[in-house]
């Protein structure tokens, strides 16, 4: 065991060369060097590069879908408005919902996880870097497909939930619903791939010593969510690709009651995914808040076991709520009671987490930087959505407000409050890590206040509109309904929301170029990502750290334990045991490859033509086999590992 003296607590873990290992560092730089230029961009498998473009792409879909919301608010700002006809309006709101749910809320959360998880657990990359790249390309295809179709007047128009039989072959002519079904397929493939990726990374690639009870809360949140994705997304992928698309393409009868199918079957399949989906977006938001709260109060979050248990319980119970979207359909009384009870009680774990944060803030030294303001804004906005959520667990009350603007208000409070507000906070928190520059605090405050005011002005009046009888998904309403003034107020609030997002975009663009340069650890954060450089170099950590507590960056000064002996001449990672993170083996990572991209092309070449002909499936299979062969065929990079014939003796690990 060698010892060396370094000048900074961070230097050893980051890129700045220590005294004795200049040569090692040079070798790391050569081994992990990204390829230059456009080809390098296309073939990159670095989780940071992919994660960054994943985040930017999902924000682009967020902005486009937000513009759709703006169009809707123009149309609804006064009664009998002629800005849009019903056909266009239905496409606009369907694309808005589909993009926000499938292309923004969930992907942006997995995107953050793909970027942050390896850094937070002390790994050099994700477990399957090429799979990660593949997931991104599929996701990009899905988004492009949806929005291009929409701009060509071919956008789906049956709502983001696409209820049969309205979305079935008889009542949805043309290919609009098929576009929707395949967009869902693309995003579910990308989501599932990312989930497997994240689970494997968290289970096997943690730094030594980071046992399960030392994982940062954010990492716990994405672990819970990834497991939820694995169980939730197959339901909708199957319902859209194998059932709805087949009903429309080859005349199967899953949802056709005349031939023994069942229209309600779709709703069960969809909401079995759809309700967990809400928590899939929301739980990482809780993780963001935990990170923000502990960074800006300088205290670990109080009640770690309660926090972790709450997230796990939420994840479980989330699968027992789906029927509360279907209270107006024929559901037996006992079922309704069960789903009511579950829907009421799921408020409990989230409440417990909020109490823990308040306790942490109370005992700490809160600093009201922009991320912290978003965290406080989260509590203030989200709880409104939370309490209305408990209300609509009640069957009688839900039957009154179901499918009205009350529900629109409720879930926008939940999603904008519980998902997007923490997300903005997370952007301010980690932007310096991703880009090496700080976001402007001044613009950040503007962003926050415009956002806070805009969200409340936009969505609070919707509660009243719903109680006054305004249903959802209407393209217009009669003047005598008396909804005009509140709708005008809502539309005015939407303008403020648009302004706040514009401030955010400007802040990002300006700061990315010319923000204040951030050090590796501008906030004094507790978790390992702050030990890497900003932006992190391709290999993340010079030496893999050894973790001795829940807040490794805040451990008492003293010797900084690290791991040595990982090869630098190849992309080698340390694999540890699943529970206790004891070093177990070493694993080679693949290098840059074009095959993930080609595989994604194969997927696109299967599912896009498949809206026209079933023969696309065998055709796509052929391209897929070619891509698979290219992907899996060994390059023979390490000749000494090659085996030519016969029984081979086990090679001893080479000395470093």
């Amino acid at each position: 065991m060698s010892e060396q003296i370094v000048t900074s607590p961070l230097a050893d873990l980051t890129t700045r060369p220590g005294l004795a290992d200049e040569a090692e560092l040079t070798e790391l730089a050569v081994t992990w060097a990204p390829r230059p230029g456009f080809w390098g961009w296309l073939t990159s498998v670095d989780h940071k590069s992919i994660g960054k473009r994943y985040i930017v792409t999902s924000f682009i879909w967020f902005i486009l879908a937000g513009l759709n919301a703006g169009l809707m608010r123009i149309q609804l700002s006064r009664p009998e408005n002629g800005f849009m006809g019903p056909d266009r309006y239905n496409q606009v709101f369907t694309t808005h919902g589909t993009a926000m749910m499938f292309l923004f809320a969930v992907p942006v959360m997995t995107a953050f996880a793909l970027y942050l998880v390896p850094l937070m657990v002390g790994a050099r990359d994700l477990a399957y870097p090429r799979l990660n790249a593949f997931g991104y390309w599929v996701f990009l295809t899905g988004g492009l497909f949806l929005f291009i179709s929409f701009y060509l007047n071919m956008g789906p128009n049956t709502g983001w939930f696409a209820y049969t039989p309205l979305s079935g072959p008889e009542f949805s002519p043309g290919k609009r619903v098929d576009v929707w079904a395949q967009v869902v397929t693309f995003t579910e493939i990308a989501g599932l791939v990312a989930a497997v990726e994240i689970v494997a990374t968290i289970m096997k690639l943690r730094a030594p010593g980071m046992s399960l009870n030392r994982i940062p809360l954010y990492v716990w949140s994405v672990l819970v969510v990834s497991v939820m994705i694995i169980f939730a997304m197959p339901a909708v992928a199957m319902a859209s690709t194998m059932m709805l698309a087949m009903d429309r393409l080859v005349a199967t009868h899953f949802f056709n009651q005349a031939e023994g199918g069942d229209a309600l079957l779709w709703q069960h399949m969809f909401w079995f995914f759809g309700h967990p989906e809400v928590y899939i977006m929301f739980i990482p938001g809780l993780g963001f808040i935990s990170s923000i709260v502990e960074t800006f109060t300088k205290r670990p979050v109080f009640g770690y076991p309660v926090m972790v248990l709450s997230m796990i319980v939420t994840g479980f119970v989330a699968f027992g709520l789906w029927v509360h979207h279907m209270f107006a359909t024929p559901i037996p009384l006992l079922g309704r009671t069960f789903f009511t009870a579950a829907s009421v009680l799921i408020a409990l774990p989230t409440g417990a987490q909020i109490f823990c944060w308040i306790a942490t803030i109370w005992s700490g030294r809160p600093r009201l930087a922009t991320p912290m303001m978003f965290a406080i804004g989260f509590v203030v906005i989200f709880i409104i959505g939370g309490v209305t959520g408990v209300m609509i667990a009640s069957v009688p009350f839900d039957l009154q407000v179901h499918d009205t603007y009350f529900i629109v208000a409720h879930f926008h409070y939940v999603i904008l409050g519980g998902v997007v507000t923490p997300l903005f906070g997370a952007c301010y928190l980690w932007f310096p890590k991703v880009t090496g520059r700080m976001l402007s605090e001044r613009l950040g405050k503007w962003h926050f206040w415009l956002w806070f005011i805009g969200v409340n002005v936009t969505f609070f009046p919707m509660h009243i509109l719903g109680l006054e009888g305004m249903p959802r998904r209407v393209y217009t309403y009669l003047p005598e309904m008396g909804w005009g003034n509140l709708n005008l107020l809502v539309s005015a609030g939407a303008v403020v929301v648009v302004a706040s997002v514009a401030v955010f975009v400007i802040n990002v663009l300006v700061s990315w170029r010319s923000g204040v340069v951030a050090g590796p650890d501008p906030w004094g954060g507790p978790t390992l990502e702050w030990a890497a450089a900003s932006p992190p170099l391709p290999w993340n950590f010079h030496h893999v750290p050894v973790v001795e507590g829940r807040s490794p960056m805040w451990e008492e000064a003293g010797d900084l334990p690290i791991v040595e002996g990982l090869a630098t001449h190849k992309r080698e990672m340390l694999v540890t045991t699943a529970l206790d993170a004891v070093p177990d083996s070493r694993h080679d990572l693949p290098e840059e490859s074009i095959w993930p991209f080609i595989m994604a092309v194969a997927v696109a070449a299967t599912f896009i033509p498949a809206i026209y002909t079933p023969w696309a499936y065998p055709a796509g299979l052929v391209i897929g086999v070619i891509a698979f062969a290219g992907w899996a065929w060994p390059r023979g990079r390490h000749p000494k590992h090659q085996v030519t014939a016969g029984r081979i003796p086990r090679t001893e690990p080479e000395p470093t």
């Binding site: 006809g85 019903p86 056909d87 239905n90 209820y163 039989p165 309205l166 008889e170 009542f171 009651q257 005349a258 309600l264 109060t297 109080f302 309660v306 107006a328 359909t329 024929p330 009511t340 009421v344 009680l345 408020a347 409990l348 409440g351 417990a352 109490f355 308040i358 306790a359 942490t360 803030i361 109370w362 005992s363 700490g364 030294r365 406080i376 203030v380 709880i383 408990v390 209300m391 009640s394 069957v395 009688p396 009350f397 039957l399 009154q400 407000v401 179901h402 499918d403 009205t404 719903g466 109680l467 006054e468 009888g469 249903p471 959802r472 998904r473 209407v474 393209y475 217009t476 009669l478």
Partner: protein, 319 residues
Amino acid sequence: MLQVNQSVLHAAGPRAASTEHLWWFAFIVAAVVYVLTVGALFWAIASARRREREGELRPEHAHDRMTSGVGAGIAASVVILLVFLGYDLSVARTRDPVPKQHPVTIEITGRQWFWDVTYADTSPHGRFTTANEIHIPVGQPVLFLLSSSDVIHSMWVPNLAGKKDLIPGYTQSLWFQADTPGVYRGQCAEFCGEQHAKMAMEIVAQPLTEYRRWVASQSGPGAPPADSVTKRGQEVFLTGTCAMCHSIGGTPAGSHVGPDLSHLASRRTIAAGSLPNTRGNLAGWIIDPQRIKPGAKMPPNMLEPKDLDALLTYLQSLK
């Protein structure tokens, strides 16, 4: 301008009333919970900053106090949630069974985009069919049997009761009772295509005698033409496009593609609650329905002015 009753907060019957009570209870509890939680948050920030100003590092007995604080919060939440759950289940339970005595049974079939209404067996003449306007007697429960012949719709009259979906392949029942006479508007609540926004119905709650009179007037065939103008109007109806889709009792027009028009003139609105039933509106609707409800299944009708006039007079005679 029509008088519009379409609100959860102005209950006109027992079902909506119990829900309205539940709402106000939930609203007050929610407001208290909200104020307390957000208050606790700001108090926590303020006291932490005060401590920081005073140079204190960490509050005394911090861990114990946090444990009891969080514990108390969780315990209070459990109690509040269980009380709410109990209240809710008691409301839900009283609402569910269909009352045994209900003199009026109405079958409603959801159509793109109107409500096909059939009174099952209340009058000696047996069943009769109307559309979009439903008369019920006050003070007694009315049973609705809901189904759909195309996509899923949802019947919702907020002043009287919560909603129920109309699903092809299923028949669902819904009952409610109006205590106050009046006109209560309802609207389709499940997205059903282009004209989901303009698929409304009106529930006209009347004292029993008035209701009986209405039933009697609706049961018979449409009024036969009385003069030459209405005669011409009927001829236009029967020989033109109209009869391809609509039916009028007592005439050869018997198609059920569109709403039944036997007693059109007695209705308050046309186009599924979108327009008051006036001669001018009716004319505009017949000539160009796609301007009023784009995507509706009714084609425009370019009639000669004289024919249109006769047709309108005829339709307005169908009391």
